[in-house]
């Protein structure tokens, strides 16, 4: 394990490789739409909505060392906000005339509700919905963040508690069928402000909107990662106390990045609802939340672009595996978790930087020597909380020396 690959965080000050972003844009906006039929393209669009979550995790977990196992909560909240709007539009009195209470969503009618609950009312409004898609998850993340980070809850405790929150929300959604649609979720969504989202043309358009939003989030994340705040996150991951005693309110930065992660996830969730046409608790709970972490880990926890590629690859593999050998998929997924942690902690991005980039650089830079940024420094782990054995030995010896007798 001693020689792990590096994603070279020291690159922070090196210039951005814009061509990599361009390449991704070409793949997503030109190659895939031309190569795939609308069914497959819609599937890619669905996967890309998870990439929003993975990008947020790069900031929270990769840079800041805050592992949230509850990102499905924010994905789900964003998705449910959008689904509630669409459901209300689909449940106009004419379409629901056969119900005992026309004008309310069908699942409410099945559960003997006779009027729309108060928290559903504002979702008649498009502007409220668009606001709520971001605001509800972000406020929720803010509350969790303030409660946890100001009390210095971090590391595995934070992971467990966010996981518990994901479990709680899932149980709540499933239990409160009449208000949430229960285990089936909110289904049978048709139009978005009168525009039928199930048609091919709508699906094409939604796909492009999705990719555009994804790039907006990518660039926002890139800015955060490369500004001083991004370096502070890395610094906090390594030596939280040093940052604190350099005059920073550590909690406020963690809350900020956690809320950003939640906002990205929420956008992804809303786009999921629009493209796939339903939202259900199976995208909220423990299992989807931890799977989203693995998308990020496969791509390389420090690489924004890696998060997108990792999400696409894992999901493509999942789809093709589940089509042909459904029982093998869980084995493969389990092996992926173990392998990516033990053997490739820097994921695809790490593999790229160690094997492909040097060769690539050599190939390209024959003409423009001297413009190369320094190559990544090898023999460097990127995972948090490691000290060389010698220094940790001496530090604990020193601690023991000073323990009050």
């Amino acid at each position: 394990m001693s020689s792990q690959i590096s994603a070279a965080p020291a690159q922070n000050s090196s210039p951005v490789d814009w061509w990599k972003y361009l390449l991704l844009a070409v793949i997503l906006l030109v190659v895939l739409p031309l190569a795939l039929d609308i069914f497959r393209l819609n599937l890619i669009g669905k996967y890309l909505t998870y990439a929003f979550v993975a990008i947020g995790l790069v900031l929270c977990w990769g840079c800041g060392g805050i592992l949230s196992l509850g990102q499905g909560v924010f994905f789900g909240l964003g998705g449910y906000c959008m689904a509630m709007f669409l459901k209300l539009e689909a449940s106009n009195p004419e379409a629901t005339a056969i119900q005992s209470t026309p004008g309310i969503p069908d699942f409410m009618d099945w559960n003997q509700l006779t009027e729309l609950p108060w928290f559903w009312q504002p979702f008649h409004s498009l502007s409220f919905t668009l606001l709520a898609v971001i605001a509800v998850p972000v406020i929720f993340a803010f509350i969790i963040g303030v409660a946890m980070f100001t009390r210095r809850v971090g590391g595995v405790y934070f992971a467990i508690i966010t996981q518990a929150i994901a479990a709680i929300l899932t149980i709540l959604i499933i239990g409160q069928q009449g208000y949430t649609g229960g285990v089936n979720g909110i289904t049978d969504l048709r139009t978005f402000v009168g525009w039928d989202i199930r048609t091919e043309s709508a699906q094409y358009l939604l796909y492009f909107v999705n990719v555009a939003l994804l790039f907006a989030c990518l660039f926002a994340a890139l800015y955060i990662k490369r500004c001083k705040l991004g370096r502070l996150l890395v610094a906090m991951r390594e030596k939280e106390d040093r940052v604190r005693f350099s005059g920073y309110n550590v909690a406020s930065f963690k809350i900020f990045v956690f809320c950003i992660g939640a906002a990205f996830a929420a956008i992804g969730g809303a786009m999921f609802t629009l493209q796939v046409g339903f939202m259900s608790p199976s995208f909220v709970g423990i299992v989807p939340s931890i799977e989203m972490v693995i998308f990020c880990a496969v791509g390389g926890r420090l690489s924004l672009l890696g998060a997108v590629y990792g999400t696409l690859l894992v999901n493509l593999a999942k789809t093709s595996f589940s089509e042909s050998f459904p029982e093998l998929w869980l084995f493969a997924m389990g092996a992926l978790f173990i392998g990516v942690v033990l053997a490739f902690p820097d994921g695809l991005a790490g593999l790229y930087q160690t094997y492909i980039q040097p060769w690539f650089k050599h190939f390209i830079n024959r003409e423009k020597v001297g413009l190369t940024p320094p190559a990544p420094i090898p023999e460097k782990t990127t995972t948090p909380a490691k000290e060389p054995v010698a220094s940790s030995l001496s530090s604990s010896l020193e601690e023991s020396r000073n323990v009050p007798a």
Partner: protein, 254 residues
Amino acid sequence: MSQLNQKTSDKDFVLSVEGLTVSFDGFKAVDDLSLYVEEQEIRVIIGPNGAGKTTVLDLICGRTKATEGSIKFKKKELTRLKEHQIVHAGVGRKFQTPSIYEDLSVFENLEISYPRGRNVWGALTFKRDQQVQDKILEIAEMVFLTDKLHDQADLLSHGQKQWLEIGMLLIQDPELLMLDEPVAGMSVAERKQTAELLQSITKQRSVLVIEHDMQFVEDIADRVTVLHQGKVLSEGSMQRVKNDPKVIEVYLGH
């Protein structure tokens, strides 16, 4: 913030600690301790292991909350402030083991400690302008790291890491600098350089140092405080403290 230098009368201390007590499950690590540090003074705290030296620094910088007593820094009560507010008030602290960000470059380490853009918005809009770069260069030169500026910090030697952390504190320009064993793990030559460094940086500020190396203490200290079992055992010049029978008893006795 820390530049609000209200000139105080000569009798005012930069730091006055009074009746400070902290107990961990009944064990009093620091017991009714009082300590006064003057402007531009280098004060060294010595004492046997477990005397409570590091705990005193922890209490002053807010890492540990006091059970009783008061810590006044330029007439400002610190015991109720949060850690980052204490830093903003002008107190800087170096840890026992070098505490730097190994995944970042030396330049970035210093930049993070530069006292601007300390809130979320400030950090988002922080610009690496000429002023920042000049200051980083100046500090890097003071701590002998000019040619290492763009190296990743984990490539530094142990002594250089200690210097880097001192540099990270200097760039904050604190009025009270607290150093916990700044020369631990340094070579003889490095120790001499560090002593000179400390002499030069105290021209504008007070320094509180914990140290075991007696030669080093003699080189730098204005006054020495000896702690034993959480209490002040002796205080004064190094010469006086060395000849205090109580101190000799504690260090050599039993």
